[in-house]
Point group: C2
Amino acid sequence: MTRVETAIAFARAHAKDALKGLEELLRIPSVSTLPEHKADMDKAAEWLAARLRSLGMTQVEILSTKGHAAVCGERITAKDKPTVLVYGHYDVQPADPLDEWRTPPFEPTVVGDNLIARGASDMKGQIMAQLAAVEALLETGGLPVNLKYVLEGEEEIGSPNMGGLLKAHQDRFTCDAALNCDAGIHAPDLPGIVYGLRGLAYFEIEVRGPATDLHSGLFGGIVHNPAQVLCELIAAMHDSDGRITLPGFYDSVESLTDEERAVIAQCPTSEADWRRMSGVPALWDGEKGYTAAERIGARPTLEVNGFLSGFTGQGSKTVLPARAVAKVSMRLVPNQEADAVAGQLREYVKRHAPDTVTCEVREVIHGPTAIMNRDTPYMRAAAKALTDTFGVEPVFKREGGSVPIVALLQQELGVDPVMLGFALPDDGVHGPNEKQHLPTFYKGIETYIRFLCEAGGIAGARGKR
Amino acid sequence: MTRVETAIAFARAHAKDALKGLEELLRIPSVSTLPEHKADMDKAAEWLAARLRSLGMTQVEILSTKGHAAVCGERITAKDKPTVLVYGHYDVQPADPLDEWRTPPFEPTVVGDNLIARGASDMKGQIMAQLAAVEALLETGGLPVNLKYVLEGEEEIGSPNMGGLLKAHQDRFTCDAALNCDAGIHAPDLPGIVYGLRGLAYFEIEVRGPATDLHSGLFGGIVHNPAQVLCELIAAMHDSDGRITLPGFYDSVESLTDEERAVIAQCPTSEADWRRMSGVPALWDGEKGYTAAERIGARPTLEVNGFLSGFTGQGSKTVLPARAVAKVSMRLVPNQEADAVAGQLREYVKRHAPDTVTCEVREVIHGPTAIMNRDTPYMRAAAKALTDTFGVEPVFKREGGSVPIVALLQQELGVDPVMLGFALPDDGVHGPNEKQHLPTFYKGIETYIRFLCEAGGIAGARGKR
């Protein structure tokens, strides 16, 4: 058997152990945005540090930040071989709406081919698949590359402290290549590599009218309803062509080249697939002049993520609410800057808000956009690993989500991270009943084994430690 | 001393007892719309039944309905005198937003001239003022009229069972006149009589898009955001002239006559008063072509009472919400019918909702409009009682709120109820820190004494028992 084959044979023989480890990690409700889960965050970090130590890692440390800590460790044993920095995040999104989960979000449950739990796909599954690959290699002859780890606890809240962490510990993270496991493929039988990510600018808009909730009969007609004002502000943020109306919003947006439109057009997901995955009666036309695949990955969008005003309990309460708050976020593309978008939103609100209310725009989180070179040795190594595992070549894609670490790794460490992960489009990440497709999880382990072996053979690596 | 003077002297000597009784009733959190307060509703009904018995009422009974019970009783001792049916409601609005109360909503607290508690003004204060007037008359020679009581527990949820109750027990409620204590005056030094009430049509609109909350990056641009759709639907419900755009909404609206506009123009509340009371930076122009007093009382309005969608906790969650729900209600004027408005809203949603979502319009509660004859003996008795107590003549007004019982009393018992109550415009009814202005509460007791004495002298009363 080849080196790869023996490691894969080990991984297959120990698949149940990998699943068991993943279930253990999923039972820790490491929700980074909710203060009441602080202890769970610490617990998850300690669990991962222990796991790194059990794999013979050294320099294992829980690096504290102003927010949640990052778990680090390394195994530098392969002389003259490249050093690969593995990135992942152990935090997850809140589980609400809780009543839509068919099984408890933090009690991982296998249903058919799927493991259901918050974080199963985003992204505890990928962390544990990568570590299973490392274990298989260690148990069958050793690592073909040197490895370093940075597993953060703040990806789901926009990685506010990762830039500072990478800067403060630059020596620790010096590497030849970075492997970002927070990624996905197109379908269980169709691999893909994400080479572009949208940025994020996330805001809260608050409209305040009367000093307190008023009786809607006694004041309706002379007091401007803050919920109505906020509805009007949000409604006018898109024009009839589906374009975003913030002043100057498209000014810096890089046009898509014909070559890039051709790459994006290879996206194998059909509109019918997206409709089925989302469960909508019909897809939205969105911005005119762009295909669905372009709109979802390569064009900027604006979404209402939440809206709260007045009485929302059962039955009726005839109030004219004192205030209305919406969470509104934009996905950005090159060369949009979140700070500039914040200015555009403030200007929009200033121009359109009536003097009958006061408005406040609060910046919640920002994340940069990133585009990676599709033609590097490590990108080719990832493509070969996927082709060998799935029997079909991967399709390159630009993804609609935002992973701030990608731009940070580019900026701080000078590496183009390889996005190699195994989330599926219908995994329900961020929503209820999030799942990990287990056959894909196992293929993920094999792909990571192949990728590390391919990376070990890359000539010209500088052997950065 | 005259009959009135002796009763008033008694009331003044026992003012503290009246306040104590009111505080007791306010401590019972009788919130009709919240199922968890069912036991409190029963407790409040029993408390009032005991109070009626202690005043020598007979036929005291808690009449159950499909919802909350109504408390009834009577004292038929004044031979050849008219019988006055007293209406009130013992239920209150929910206390939320709780964190905006400076004192606990169900622990009545005297601050300066005011008693702070949910229900202090709407309307446990008026019930207890009226009963204090009855006690003063009983203790100083007896009642000048016959009295019947109906104190319901469902006014704040639209009196859904009062029509049936009045029909089922018509003999019990037969009367010559009705006194509706659920009313207010303009200012502590300026009495008023409400002779018109707006109707109410209250709805929930739900917009459903994807089957579950989606990742806003992975689906933003191709899935129509239900919160955005609902914002667009609501935003377009008013045109640039502040008019409501539901198809046919104004078709049946009765025009204001010049005479009525002149009566409404006597409203002493200035725009500056309203701005101060509501705490808004500027009043809303609302429907073009109408004064503030007309818009607030005599023209129909549409309000968003609540809006909920997506993630509304602290921080960020990048979801594209599966659904958005708004509570939207209209205040109606003669001759609008809530059923017709429901049809107009359904038609509006049908015309404007895109096929990317599904929409549902749910009817929550409806209440009819009412206009009362300003020139009846009982209306004149009320005006005289107010003039004698306040030293200034009352101003007639049409009020923006909705009190379904008014139209029900007209329909079922054939009487035009006299609206005689003492809520003030800045009492904060339905909002946090609701208050009862105590000097006005005591003047209310005196006014009720005078009204009952005036009513006892009305000739031609049919003596309906």
